[in-house]
Amino acid sequence: MSYIEFENVNKQYKMGEITIDALSKTNFQIEKGELVVIVGPSGAGKTTALNILGGMDTATSGKVIVDGKDVTTLKGKELIKYRREDIGFVFQFYNLVQNLTAKENVELATQICKDSLDPDKVLEKVGLKDRKNNFPSQLSGGEQQRVAIARAIAKNPKLLLCDEPTGALDYKTGKQILKLLQNTCRKGNITVLIITHNTAIAPMADKIIYFKNGKAEKIEINQNPTPVEEIEW
């Protein structure tokens, strides 16, 4: 059994009288320590899948197994606990708490986790050793995203979920961030999922899942992932 399994996952949204199928019978597997890139046009259900996987949303039907745990059966506090201990999120717009310094933003996450990493070390790892006492507004976009990644990995999660992490960043910075994520996956042995609409970055992944119309249409396994530095778009 794979580390993560999506089995016939359906997700329906009701918008008034219309029912939208965001996910319909989605199936895919991810192994532990893989770097997975999910690509697809907008509205294909990438984010929905990620949200369900991250415990931010629940599936209408189907099974989502993470490390042997069926996430779909989790309710309320258990779901939060799952998010808290197993998942790290990175968003397009960083979602840092503006009122906290870089280090404090990381601490915000670490103080609620049992096996958290040392915020200083994590920040050092993401290359923000000298800027840890700055407020988000004093940091560049890339730096902010790095803080967000630091915050996510400081929790020492099983799964790092990134939703368009480079969407708001310029090419160079974006590349740096992807590098960081790749390193995190490789060195930290953390399973990383990256959502992107930019197919160009797909080669960096171990596995590429193509989404279309609420389905994982195609799953490609990349035996030789390309280092980020070598990818151009």
């Binding site: 931010m56 808290r84 979602n95 906290l100 404090e104 996450a109 507004s137």
Partner: protein
């Protein structure tokens, strides 16, 4: 309305309390009245009256009817009957005047008072003349009557005297007659006696002669016999002589019989006459006795009549000078109470609405700004679509304007219709009132609406214009979150280092949202302070009675003596009171009303002068306001109660002008300002009074301290004392106390309304702010939820700030409330009352608890709102 003699109308209360109905008959007993001639006449011509309806009298609007100088001194009910039913029609005791055009002025307003005062002064000018006229009429009538009586008496006297003289004369005549008769009888007797004696003598003489003749005859016979032959002639002669003697003898014996018969008759006659005289004498005696009796009676009667006449004369002198009391509505206790109650509410109305208005404006302001800010994206879209600034701004102006107008209308219908009705209803518990006339107060309504509209529209326009300055592209992205900053506290590592992470976050957040920080604190501060002020007001109001009647006036009964009662009567009463077992202690005082002047300003006061200062012990405590210690009165100086001193700006040591009821003004120094809570008083010693006004002290009011009595017993005692002839009125402090307490309870309702409104307002403020807090920080909250904060942790993340703000707000609110209460008491205070400035510990607790309860409710709502935050939606909104 009653139309016939035997009909009456009563008040509703009379029917309900006595289980009567319209159509029932009652018997009305009225004391006889005296007419102008001083005769007692039956007051009513018809005692049995049929109730034909109920009425409400403006003279008795208060549920408490005040005191009366009759009966137990309390007015229980009123009743109206027809004029026809009153016999004593020429006796009027009251004239009610309705002034021309007086309806143009609002009652108790300054203009009204001035208007009435003018008329009063005019009447005052004819008062003396009319009083004299009335007095003269009464006096003249009485004098005429006495004079008539005197004349009649004199006539009767002279009549009686002449009759007596006649009778005396008659008696004397009778006496004379008797005397005459007696002497006649005597002479007649004597005469008869002599006559009888003569007759007897003659008879004896005749008898002797006869005997001689007989003897001669016998001798002759013998001679003859001795002579053998006697001539026949001689014999014949002898026989003749014998016959003659015999005849004479017969004659004599006949005469003797005659005589004795005559004697007998005469004696009888005399005896008769004597008897008659005796009878006459007896009659005379009887007559004399009767006469003397009548005489005595007559004299007594005359003396009596004269005494009565004298009494009547004295009474004429006793006829009191007629007095006109020219009173206005302010003499009606119910009216005054009502006006004072409305004044106190009006005073409260001066302070509270301002606070409410400020808070309400703040809420509306934040709501509107928030709404505009939330619609930022829409503004951007509209702008991008090509709407110009005017059009976009107008949209929000219309929205805000409508909110103001609709809210204004709703508010005014509550404020001008429902609230007055509620308060009126509460007043109805104390007063008998007609239905309230609801009036739209254009000034307050309009001003309030304009003010709040200006504030809100101004804020809306300002915010919209501020947003509109940006390009549509900027507007369509969410507002950049406020950047974080280090706070002051971080520069104090000593403290900062000790805080754990979440506390640091809390502290930083507190200072981050300064506007919200202030608003929350102001909101809670406002809530706590209003509630505290409300409770404080209640505490103060509640404390007036105990303060006045436990700390200052501790007597139980006030006995007012009638004017001009004799000194010995007064002493008698005092002695009786002294001996009364139910009375523990009495104090003799002279009380009079007066006025204290300080320059232009004046206040009405009651002047109390105890006979001796010691008597006041345990009756009235005179305590200095500052030191709270009992003071002793100084010679030639007075003590003034503190409210009057405050109103007039007088301090101990100042000299004031004190006017007594006869308008004598004197300058006197105030030795102490003394504790007092109801009305104004001036205290001074007897010596001071006598010296100041150069009049003699005279007891007119007696204050008593009774043993523990139940209300009924106290009433009975009052009635007993009231029955004494020297007493004009008796008032029980207990019943006076109840009246004031009732009055105060009204204020309590107002306070409750205030507290409830303050609480609701606070709730709205807090709820609104909590919502603002959540919506402003929704991304941050969603983020921490994503990070895996449990619901409780998310709540704590926010609530910690709320708790701290609440605590700060409450602490500041208590402090502010303390001063607000002080300020309210200063402004709300009725001139006659001194509100003790106290707030009980429990009130602080209540203020805290109520605020906390509201905060908790708001926080519970917040908890669920936080739980409901949709992370995905909140974080997605960026795209």
């Amino acid at each position: 309305m009653p139309e016939n003699k035997n009909e009456c109308v009563v008040e509703k209360k009379f029917l309900t309390e006595n289980n009567k109905q319209i159509g029932d008959t009652i018997r009305l007993e009225v004391e006889d009245a005296k007419n102008d001639d001083g005769e007692d006449i039956k007051y009513l011509s018809e005692d049995n009256l049929t109730i034909v309806g109920t009425v409400q009298s403006p003279l008795y609007i208060s549920r408490d009817r005040g005191t009366s100088s009759l009966g137990a001194g309390k007015v229980n009910y009123y009743i109206y009957i027809t004029n026809d039913n009153i016999n004593a029609k020429d006796i009027y005791t009251n004239i009610y005047l309705k002034l021309n055009n007086s309806e143009e002025y609002t009652t108790s307003s300054e203009k009204y008072e001035d208007y009435v005062e003018d008329v009063k002064n005019d009447i005052e000018e004819i008062k003396e003349e009319r009083e004299k006229a009335r007095y003269d009429t009464l006096r003249k009538k009485a004098e005429d009557k006495v004079n008539d009586a005197e004349k009649e008496l004199n006539e009767q006297k002279s009549d009686a005297e002449s009759e007596i003289a006649k009778a005396e004369k008659k008696l004397n005549e009778a006496k004379q007659d008797i005397k005459k008769a007696e002497s006649e009888i005597k002479t007649n007797k004597q005469k008869a006696d002599t006559e009888f004696k003569n007759a007897e003598k003659e008879i004896t003489k005749a008898k002797e002669e006869l005997q001689k003749k007989e003897e001669e005859l016998i001798a002759k016979e013998k001679q003859l016999n001795s002579l053998p032959e006697v001539s026949e002639a001689i014999k014949l002669e002898l026989d003749q002589a014998k016959k003659e003697v015999e005849n004479a003898k017969n004659e004599i014996s006949k005469n003797e019989t005659q005589l004795s018969k005559t004697k007998q008759t005469t004696n009888d006659q005399i005896k008769n006459a004597e008897k008659e005289v005796e009878k006459a004498k007896q009659e005379l005696q009887k007559g004399e006795k009767e006469l003397s009796k009548n005489k005595k009676e007559f004299e007594e009667k005359i003396a009596d009549a004269e005494e009565k006449l004298k009494d009547a004369r004295d009474k004429i002198n006793d006829i009191e000078m007629a007095t006109w009391y020219i009173l206005d509505r302010n003499a009606n206790a119910g009216y005054v109470g009502f006006i004072q109650d409305t004044d106190s509410i009006a005073n409260i109305g001066r302070v509270f609405p301002v606070v409410f208005f400020i808070v309400a404006t703040l809420i509306s302001l934040t709501s509107m700004t928030r709404m505009v800010e939330e619609q930022r994206m829409q503004i951007g879209t509209l702008k991008a679509l090509g709407y110009n600034r005017k059009q976009i701004t107008l949209k929000y102006i219309i929205y805000a304007g409508l909110a103001c107008i609709i809210g204004g209308i709703l508010g005014m219908s509550i404020g001008f219709v429902i609230l007055p009705k509620v308060i009126w209803l509460m007043y109805g518990m104390m007063y008998e009132l007609i239905d309230i006339e609801i009036e739209f107060n254009l000034l307050f309504g309009g001003l309030g609406l304009i003010l709040i509209s200006v504030c809100i529209l101004g804020a809306t326009i300002y915010t919209v214009l501020k947003e509109l300055r940006h390009q549509p592209s900027v507007l369509m992205r969410p507002k950049a979150p406020k950047s974080g900053n280090r706070v002051m506290l971080e520069r104090i590592p000593f403290i900062w280092k000790r805080l754990n992470f979440s506390k640091k976050v809390t502290v930083r957040n507190l200072f981050r949202y300064k506007k919200r920080f202030c608003m929350t604190i102001i909101g809670i501060l406002g809530c706590t302070s209003l509630i505290l002020a409300g409770f404080g007001l209640k505490d103060s109001v509640k404390q007036i009675i105990p303060n006045q009647f436990e700390n200052v006036f501790v007597y139980d009964m006030q006995i007012t003596l009638k004017d001009d009662i004799a000194e010995n009567e007064k002493e008698e009463l005092i002695k009786e009171l002294d001996q009364e077992e139910r009375i523990e202690k009495i104090a003799k005082t002279y009380m009079t009303s007066g006025k204290v002047y300080n320059g232009e300003n004046s206040e009405d006061v009651q002047i109390i002068i105890p006979e001796t200062e010691e008597q006041l012990d345990g009756i009235i405590y005179i305590n200095d306001t500052k030191t709270k210690n009992k003071i002793s009165m100084k010679e030639n100086e007075i003590c003034l109660t503190d409210k009057a001193a405050q109103l007039l700006g007088i301090n101990a040591g100042d000299t004031i002008t004190l006017e007594d009821s006869d308008e004598n003004k004197v300058e006197v120094k105030v030795s102490n300002v003394v504790e007092n809570y109801v009305q104004h008083y001036v205290f001074m010693t007897k010596e001071t009074y006598e010296k100041l006004y150069e009049t003699k002290y005279e007891t007119n009011v007696i204050l008593t301290k009774n043993i523990e009595l139940s209300e009924e017993e106290a009433d009975r005692l009052a009635t007993n004392i009231m029955d004494k002839s020297q007493v004009a009125s008796v008032s029980n402090i207990a019943s006076a106390l109840k009246t004031i307490e009732d009055m105060m309870s009204l204020l309590n309702y107002v306070v409750v309304v205030l507290i409830v409104s303050a609480g609701l307002l606070a709730f709205v403020v807090l709820y609104n702010l909590a919502n603002v807090n959540i919506s402003e920080r929704i991304r941050e909250l969603a983020t921490i939820k994503v990070l895996g904060f449990y619901d409780k942790e998310v709540y704590n993340y926010v609530a910690k700030e709320t708790v701290i703000l609440t605590i700060i707000g409450i602490i500041l609110g208590l402090a502010f409330g303390f001063f607000l209460n002080y300020y309210i008491l200063e402004t709300c205070e009725i001139n006659m009352l001194r509100f003790p400035k106290i707030i009980h510990g429990i009130s602080y607790l209540y203020a805290i608890l109520i605020t906390v309860v509201f905060t908790v409710i708001v926080n519970i709502v917040t908890y669920f709102s936080l739980k409901k935050i949709n992370m995905i939606e909140s974080l997605k909104s960026v795209e």
